[in-house]
């Protein structure tokens, strides 16, 4: 029991999950991180903060989200029962808003008037812009030029919400460079600006804060499954880019070792091509964006390009707590190619009438592989992290090109 409790108490006081995590940032930011940690520790035990958060999550975001039994998909695959945690039904269409509402409330608490964010698929950008509009904060979102091209709908949404979208032309022009640029902007404006990171990445206390705001996914899901099935699921599945929806789903189950935790990374064009985002399966320990975690980098420590059809999984790093769960053996990480993800995209659309985000389609595609091999009375709970409206144009173009 001791070691189980220990895992739920991580990170330690220095922000470490075993060897992972930490605060690998320039001095300029260290005081802001210390302040954020102090402020957050006060907020998390403040009943007023918690009731405000609860209010907005219920009345504005629309929580709790349903845990939906995907009956036709289950029958089609002919194995384990599949439940979908419908984060796609949140306001703005993804789980990202769970974190941005909480983080915007923290911003108000620290008296700052401006927030910045990085975004890949645009979901976190939209969720940050939304929270900023709701609370009257100024908002700038950094987004790679490549992603601006493939996620034009979300770019328009952010602008409509009153945010500025700042194109990032450095490096790979995707999420990695958008994150680097957001950190540089934060180094410059740290005294007036709060940086709302979109995933369980970055320097301590970010991975902890984002996880805590996302764990509502797993908290609700475990209550809901108990209500319907009177027992815990056998497996939890979620896609992992930075890994916030997965961490949110997994965290409440970490102590319950009878529940298998499976994270799905992007295999892109195939692991063998080197063009993928499977950081946990094919990377090694390194330091990027303020934390020690698994990383895709070469023998000289230079960060490599990731690749995925989904902008949200196109990231060479990964949340440090996932690195910890991998090395401790508590969670397993598998990967799914672009092609397989597209099949997952179509599968859920045609069997359940739910168009999933390309990110979530990776989790669906893995479920399609594993469910038939499981018994009919076993239960898979999968996080449907976002809806696929943003991806429809991209998929249509691709299907047209293929036909």
């Amino acid at each position: 029991m001791d070691d189980k409790t220990k895992d739920m108490n991580l990170p330690d006081v220095r922000g470490h999950f075993g060897q992972f995590g930490g605060k690998y940032v320039i001095e300029t930011l260290m005081p802001a991180l210390e302040e954020l940690e102090k402020l957050y520790n006060e907020a998390r035990v403040d009943p007023k903060f918690q009731s405000d958060l609860k209010y907005y999550l219920k009345e504005y975001v629309g929580r709790p989200t349903p845990l939906y039994y995907a009956e036709r998909l289950t029958k089609h695959l002919g194995g384990a029962k599949i439940y979908l945690k419908r984060e796609d039904l949140n306001h703005t269409g993804a789980h990202k808003i769970n974190n941005t509402i909480g983080s915007a409330l923290l911003t108000l608490r620290m008296g700052k008037k401006r927030v910045i964010a990085e975004t890949g698929a645009g979901q976190h950008g939209v969720a940050t812009a939304t929270a900023a509009a709701l609370f009257g904060l100024k908002c700038d979102v950094f987004m790679g030029e490549e992603d601006i091209k493939r996620q034009s709908l979300n770019v328009f949404r952010m602008k409509l919400l009153g945010a500025r979208v700042i194109p990032v032309s450095a490096g790979t022009r995707t999420l990695k460079d958008a994150t680097s640029e957001a950190i540089r902007e934060w180094i410059t404006t740290v005294e007036t600006t709060h940086y709302i990171i979109g995933s369980v990445v970055g320097p301590h206390p970010y991975p902890m804060i984002v996880r805590d705001f996302q764990r509502i996914i797993g908290d609700e899901a475990s209550e809901q499954i108990m209500e319907v099935e009177k027992r815990m699921p056998d497996v939890c599945v979620a896609c992992v880019g930075g890994g916030s929806n997965a961490m949110g789903l997994f965290f409440p189950f970490v102590e319950n070792k009878s529940v298998k935790l499976v994270g799905i990374e992007a295999a892109g064009l195939g692991i063998e091509t080197g063009k993928h985002g499977a950081t946990l399966s094919h990377g090694s320990t390194g330091v990027l964006h303020g934390m020690m975690s698994y990383l895709l980098h070469d023998d000289d420590g230079q960060v490599q390009e990731a690749h995925s059809i989904s902008a949200g999984l196109d990231y060479p790093g990964v949340g440090c707590e996932h690195s910890y769960l991998k090395t401790s053996g508590r969670a397993q990480y598998e990967n799914i190619t672009d092609e397989e993800a597209l099949e997952g995209f179509k599968l859920l659309s045609s069997f359940e009438g739910i168009i999933p985000a390309l990110e979530s389609s990776h989790a669906i595609a893995h479920v399609a592989k594993m469910a038939p091999k499981m018994k009919k009375d076993e239960i898979i709970m999968v996080c449907l992290s976002g809806r696929g409206d943003k991806d429809v144009n991209q998929v249509a173009d691709r299907m047209e090109a293929d036909s």
Partner: protein
């Protein structure tokens, strides 16, 4: 006495301030770095700060980011930079400090890096994303091998951190003159003198000012309130703008000696 400590003792005796010149190793290539370093040394720089290129330098503005990219394209690695230092040490005695993001060092192996760097003749290391909180083992190994671990302080650092960081710093303290990334600015930030003064109360080692120092005038003002200046982007920009080696060398000589002269006069 280490080369860095020795250097500051000499400067003090001569009643002058230190000029630390930053260049990215391997920009445009390592062979050029060697001749650039000779010019800079001969033009009056007191310490050379050699930047190790990294794919994702978070504390750097556009000029040094671009420089790192050029260096990586020419095939520069940390191993080759250490070998270059060894070569330079055959003929040059000025202190050499490596400035690097942590990941290349971590991947190289922290202990191996310190061992190789020390035997090549590296005198100090600046790792902006390795604050004292994460530097424990690294600092201990560095100390053991006689490499100075140079930490940074910023305008945002409160008094407790000034004391803590000062306590962990060896060689000199790198004071970041502004809240921002590297790159030349038109003016020094307000309150620079007060902040440096408060750091000097917490430590006996020299406090140098870097980030945003564009030329002789700013260097003079910054040196007036500190123990010296670190100039980076302005030099890197000259290298970028002058692909012809002869022209580059003469511009560099002119610039470096003008900065050194500006900080050498009576204050």
């Amino acid at each position: 006495m280490s080369r860095i400590t020795n250097c500051f003792a000499t400067l003090k005796a001569e009643n002058t301030k230190a000029l630390v010149a930053f260049i990215t190793a391997g920009d445009p290539d390592l062979e050029s770095t060697k001749s650039i370093l000779d010019i800079i040394d001969d033009s009056g720089a007191d310490i050379i700060e050699l930047g190790v290129p990294f794919s994702d330098p978070l504390a750097d503005g556009p000029v040094i980011q671009a420089s790192a990219l050029r260096s990586l394209k020419s095939g520069t690695t940390l191993k080759k930079i250490i070998a270059l230092v060894k070569e330079i040490r055959q003929s040059r005695e000025l202190p050499i400090v490596l400035m690097t993001s942590f990941n290349p060092v971590f991947v190289y192996g922290e202990k191996q890096f310190i061992k190789d760097a020390a035997s090549a003749g590296v005198d100090g290391v600046i790792i902006p994303d390795l604050p004292p909180e994460e530097a424990g083992e690294f600092s201990a190994s560095a100390e053991e091998k006689g490499i100075d671990m140079i930490h940074l302080l910023a305008p945002t650092s409160p008094d407790e951190r000034v004391r803590m960081v000062a306590e962990h710093s060896r060689g000199f303290i790198y004071y970041i003159s502004l809240t921002g990334t590297t790159g030349v600015r038109s003016e020094l930030s307000e309150g620079l003198g007060d902040k440096v003064e408060s750091i000097k109360q917490a430590t006996n080692i020299p406090v140098l000012v870097g980030f945003g120092i564009s030329g002789p005038d700013q260097a003079r003002s910054a040196a007036a309130v500190s123990d010296g200046v670190i100039v980076g982007s302005a030099i890197v920009k000259l290298i970028e703008q002058n692909p012809d080696p002869a022209q580059r060398d003469s511009k560099l000589a002119e610039f470096v000696s003008s900065v050194k002269q500006a900080i050498s006069g009576p204050n």
